[in-house]
C-alpha cells in the first residue's frame, strides 16, 4: 500500500504542504471574518467605545510585534539550518522561536492585566469585546504554534521523522507560525494604531 501512495502525486507538492496551505486558507477566512466584523462595527456602530490612545498600550504592542517578527526569522533560519544538516543551529533557532513565543504570550498577559485594571474588559465596550476576542483567539493560535514547534524540535533532534532529507513537518510548522505572525501584522495596526 505504501508503494502505491509513493508513486501517486500529480502536482509534486507533498500532501502535507498542500493540506497546510488549504488549512491556512480557511484560517484566513476565520480571522478575516472576525477582523471584518471588527472593522464593520468600528465604522458603523454608534457606540463602539474606542478608548483613548494612551490606554491602548502601543509601546508594549509594538514590542510584541518585533518579538513575533523576530521569532518568524528564527523559525525560517531553523528550517534553513535543518535543510543544511546543521542540527545544533536548528536546535538553537527553534529554542529561540519557542522562547519568543512565550515572551509574546507573557507580554500579552501583562497587557490584558493592564487593560482590565484600566476598566477595559470583554464586556465594557465593543472595543473591549473585540480586543479580547481577536487577540485571545490569536493567542490560542500562538499556543498551538508553540506546541507544534516543540514537537518538531523534539522530532528534529531525534532525527527520525524530521531530518535534512525530510524536513517536511518542520516546514509545515513554519508555515503555520509565519501565518500566525501575518495575522498579528494585521491585528496590530487595526487595533492599536488606527
Amino acid at each position: 500500500m505504501s508503494s502505491l501512495e509513493a508513486t501517486q502525486n500529480q502536482t509534486g507538492i507533498p500532501n502535507g504542504k498542500l493540506g497546510m496551505w488549504l488549512f491556512l486558507a480557511s484560517e484566513v477566512m476565520l480571522f478575516g471574518g472576525l477582523l471584518s466584523s471588527y472593522v464593520i462595527l468600528r465604522t458603523g456602530s454608534p457606540n463602539f467605545g474606542m478608548p483613548a490612545r494612551e490606554l491602548l498600550g502601543v509601546p508594549w504592542a509594538t514590542l510584541n510585534t518585533f518579538v513575533l517578527i523576530t521569532s518568524s526569522v528564527s523559525m525560517v533560519l531553523a528550517l534553513s539550518a535543518m535543510q543544511d544538516g546543521r542540527i545544533p543551529a536548528f536546535r538553537n533557532f527553534m529554542l529561540l522561536t519557542i522562547t519568543l513565543g512565550f515572551v509574546f504570550l507573557g507580554i500579552k498577559s501583562y497587557e490584558y492585566w493592564h487593560k482590565i485594571s484600566e476598566g477595559i474588559t470583554i464586556t465594557s465596550s465593543l472595543f473591549g469585546s473585540f480586543y479580547f476576542t481577536l487577540t485571545g483567539l490569536h493567542a490560542l493560535h500562538v499556543i498551538g504554534g508553540i506546541v507544534f514547534n516543540i514537537y518538531v524540535l523534539v522530532q528534529g533532534l531525534k532525527g527520525k521523522i524530521i531530518n535534512p532529507d525530510h524536513p517536511d513537518r518542520l516546514e509545515y510548522a513554519g508555515l503555520y507560525w509565519h501565518f500566525v505572525d501575518v495575522v498579528w501584522v494585521f491585528l496590530f495596526p487595526l487595533i492599536y494604531l488606527i
Binding site: L4, T11, I13, G19, L22, L30, G33, L34, I122, T123
Partner: protein, 572 residues
C-alpha cells in the same frame, strides 16, 4: 496504518478505522439515523399543524410534559422541534450523507487511489461529527430545552434564549471542525492522488462535484465559525456583538454595553449558509450524472458544460447570500446587487439540469432502480429550481418571504431533489459496498411511494405560501387568511406519515440485503468508472495494482466495440 504483524482488532477495524470505506459507511449509517430522527421531529410538528391543539395520538402521552402536556404540543416545543429539525437534517443528515458518506467512499475509488490523503484526519472527521451529533441531541436535556431560534439562530432572540442555544453553538463548532478536516482531505486527495492518466477533464462528474463542494466548505464555514464564536461570547460572556444599544426585553432594558448589529449575524450566517445549499445539491447532481451516464449507456451531454457550470455555481455562490435577507432591513441598494447575482446563478443551475435531461436523448435506457431515482430527480429539481426564481427577485420576495412558499421551494430541492438522488446513490453503489444487491422490486416500490408522498407533503406548500401562510407558525388557524388552506395541512400530514412508513421498506431492504442480498460481481452495472474496476467490496488498499487511465469517464456505446462500455482503465 496498522502493523502487518497482527490482524486489526474489532475496534481498529470497525470503530476507529482509518479506511475511507469503513469511515464512509459509518457516515452513511449515522447520517441516515439522523435523517430519521429529524423526520420524526417534523412528524410531531405536522400533527400539530393538521390538528392544532389536539393531543398527539399514540405517542402523545409518552412525550415529556414540557414538550406536550396532555399530549398537546406547546408553542415553545414546536419551535424547538423546528429548529432542531432544520439543524439535524442539514448538518447531521444530508451533508454527512452526500459528502461524508459518498464522498469518502467513492472519491478515492473513482480516482484510483488506495485511500484518502490523510486517513487519521479522516477518522477524526467522522468522530468529531459523531460527537457534534451527540452534543446536538444532548441539548434536549438542557433546562429550557434545545435551541428554538430556528436553524438560523438569529440575534437577538438567539442571544437571550435558554442554555440549549449555547449547546447548539458548541455542537455547530464540532460539526464545522469535522467539515474542515474533511474538506482539506478531499481537496488534497483529489488534487494529488489521481491515478496516472486521470487528468482533470477525465474525472467523473461526481468527483468534480465533491471538489467544488469541498472548496465551498473550506472557505465559507470559517465565517460561520467566527460568527458562532461572537454569538457564544454574547451568550456566555455578556458581550454585545449582535446586541444593539437600548434593547428592551419584556419591558426591561438590557444592561449590556450595546452597539452591536443584528444584521451582522445575518450576514456572517448566510455567507456560509448560502454556499451550504450548494453543498446540499452538488453531490446529488454528481450522483445523478453518474447514474444517468451508466443507465443510458452513452456519454453525458455536455460534460465540459456541466463541469464548467458546477465551478461557476461554486464561485457565484459566494456572491448571492443576502437574498436570504431582502426583508431584514438591509440597504436596498445592496438588495439590487444581490438580486442580480441571484438571477445570474440560476443560469448554470439550469444549464446542468438541461445537460442532464439532454443526456437521455438517444440513450438506451435501463430502467433499473438507480435509474428511477436519477430520473425522478430531474423534474423535481426543476420544480425546486423554478420556484426559487420568485424568491430571488426582491419584488416578489417581499410577499413570499417567510411563507410556506419558501419551505416548499427548499424542500423540493433538498428532499425531492438531493435526498432522492442520494437514495439513488445508495442503491447504485450498494453492490460495491457489500458485494450484494438490494432487492430491485422493493427498491422500485420504495421509489414510487416515496416520490408520490414527498410531492403530497411539499406541493401544497406553494399554495399555502401564496395564500400567505407564514412559516414557523405553531397554529396556522390563528391567522384568518390561513383558514381557507388549512385542509391542505391534513393532506400534507397524512402524506408525511405515509412517507415515514414507506422508509421502513428502504431500511429493511438495506439491512437485509447487507447480509442476505443476491451476491454480485465486481461491476454489476457494467460501468466505466474506476470504482467498478476493483472487487466488491474493495479490499484494504482498493486496487491490487495502480490503475492507469486511458480515456474519459463515460465511454459507453463506443462504435466498433463488442461491449457497450469501455472502462477508463482498460488498456485495449
Amino acid at each position: 496504518m496498522n502493523s502487518t504483524h497482527h490482524e486489526p482488532t474489532f475496534v481498529q477495524r470497525y470503530i476507529f478505522s482509518l479506511d475511507h470505506k469503513v469511515i464512509g459507511l459509518q457516515y452513511m449509517i449515522t447520517s441516515m439515523i439522523f435523517l430519521l430522527v429529524g423526520f420524526s421531529f417534523m412528524l410531531i410538528m405536522r400533527w400539530q399543524l393538521a390538528f392544532p391543539g389536539h393531543p398527539i395520538p399514540v405517542i402523545g402521552h409518552w412525550l415529556p410534559g414540557w414538550i406536550a402536556p396532555g399530549g398537546v404540543l406547546v408553542p415553545d416545543a414546536y419551535n424547538m422541534l423546528g429548529a432542531m429539525h432544520g439543524t439535524i437534517m442539514i448538518f447531521l443528515g444530508v451533508v454527512p450523507l452526500g459528502v461524508g458518506a459518498f464522498g469518502n467512499y467513492v472519491l478515492p475509488l473513482q480516482i484510483g487511489a488506495p485511500d484518502m490523503a490523510f486517513p487519521r484526519l479522516n477518522m477524526m472527521s467522522y468522530w468529531v461529527y459523531f460527537m457534534g451529533g451527540i452534543v446536538m441531541l444532548g441539548s434536549f436535556l438542557c433546562p429550557g430545552g434545545p435551541a428554538q431560534s430556528g436553524w438560523t439562530s438569529y440575534a437577538p432572540l438567539s442571544v437571550i434564549a435558554g442554555s440549549g442555544q449555547t449547546v447548539w453553538i458548541i455542537g455547530m463548532i464540532f460539526l464545522i471542525t469535522s467539515s474542515l478536516f474533511g474538506s482539506i482531505n478531499f481537496l488534497v486527495t483529489a488534487i494529488n492522488m489521481r491515478a496516472p492518466g486521470l487528468t482533470w477533464f477525465r474525472l467523473p462528474v461526481f468527483v468534480w462535484a465533491q471538489v467544488v463542494t469541498a472548496i465551498l466548505l473550506l472557505i465559507a464555514f470559517p465565517v460561520l465559525e467566527a460568527g458562532s464564536i461572537l454569538q457564544l461570547l454574547d451568550r456566555v460572556a455578556g458581550t454585545s456583538f449582535f446586541i444593539p444599544a437600548g434593547l428592551i426585553i419584556d419591558g426591561v432594558p438590557m444592561t449590556r454595553a450595546g452597539g452591536g448589529s443584528v444584521l451582522l449575524w445575518q450576514h456572517l450566517f448566510w455567507f456560509l449558509a448560502h454556499p451550504e445549499v450548494y453543498v446540499l445539491i452538488l453531490p446529488a447532481m454528481g450522483i445523478v450524472a453518474e447514474i444517468l451516464a451508466n443507465g443510458t449507456r452513452k456519454p453525458l451531454f455536455g460534460y465540459k458544460e456541466i463541469v464548467g457550470s458546477m465551478i461557476f455555481i461554486g464561485l457565484l455562490s459566494f456572491f448571492v447570500w443576502a437574498h436570504h435577507m431582502f426583508l431584514s432591513g438591509m440597504k436596498s441598494s445592496l438588495a439590487k446587487g444581490f438580486t442580480t447575482t441571484t438571477m445570474i446563478i440560476s443560469v448554470p443551475s439550469v444549464a446542468i439540469l438541461t445537460c442532464l435531461i439532454l443526456s437521455l436523448m438517444g440513450g438506451s435506457i435501463r430502467y433499473r432502480s438507480p435509474m428511477l431515482y436519477a430520473l425522478g430527480f430531474l423534474p423535481m429539481f426543476g420544480i425546486g429550481g423554478l420556484t426559487g426564481l420568485p424568491l430571488g427577485f426582491t419584488v416578489t420576495d417581499i410577499y413570499l418571504h417567510d411563507t410556506y412558499y419558501v419551505i416548499g421551494h427548499f424542500h423540493y430541492v433538498v428532499v425531492t431533489g438531493s435526498l432522492i438522488a442520494l437514495m439513488g446513490g445508495v442503491v447504485y453503489w450498494f453492490p460495491k459496498f457489500y458485494g450484494r444487491r438490494m432487492n430491485e422490486c422493493w427498491n422500485k416500490i420504495h421509489f414510487w411511494l416515496t416520490i408520490i408522498f414527498m410531492n403530497g407533503i411539499f406541493f401544497p406548500m406553494f399554495i399555502q405560501g401564496i395564500a400567505g401562510v407564514q412559516r414557523r407558525l405553531y397554529d396556522p388557524t390563528i391567522q384568518l387568511h390561513n383558514v381557507i388552506v388549512q385542509p391542505t395541512n391534513i393532506f400534507m400530514s397524512a402524506s408525511a406519515l405515509c412517507l415515514m412508513l414507506t422508509q421502513s421498506i428502504f431500511v429493511v431492504n438495506f439491512f437485509y440485503s447487507m447480509f442476505k442480498g443476491e451476491k454480485t460481481e465486481e461491476n454489476p452495472w457494467q460501468a466505466t468508472t474506476l470504482e467498478w474496476a476493483c472487487p466488491s467490496p474493495p479490499p484494504h488498499g482498493n486496487f491490487t495494482s495502480l490503475p492507469t487511465v486511458y480515456r474519459g469517464p463515460y465511454e459507453y456505446s463506443v462504435p466498433g466495440r463488442s461491449t457497450d462500455w469501455w472502462p477508463q482503465n482498460a488498456s485495449n
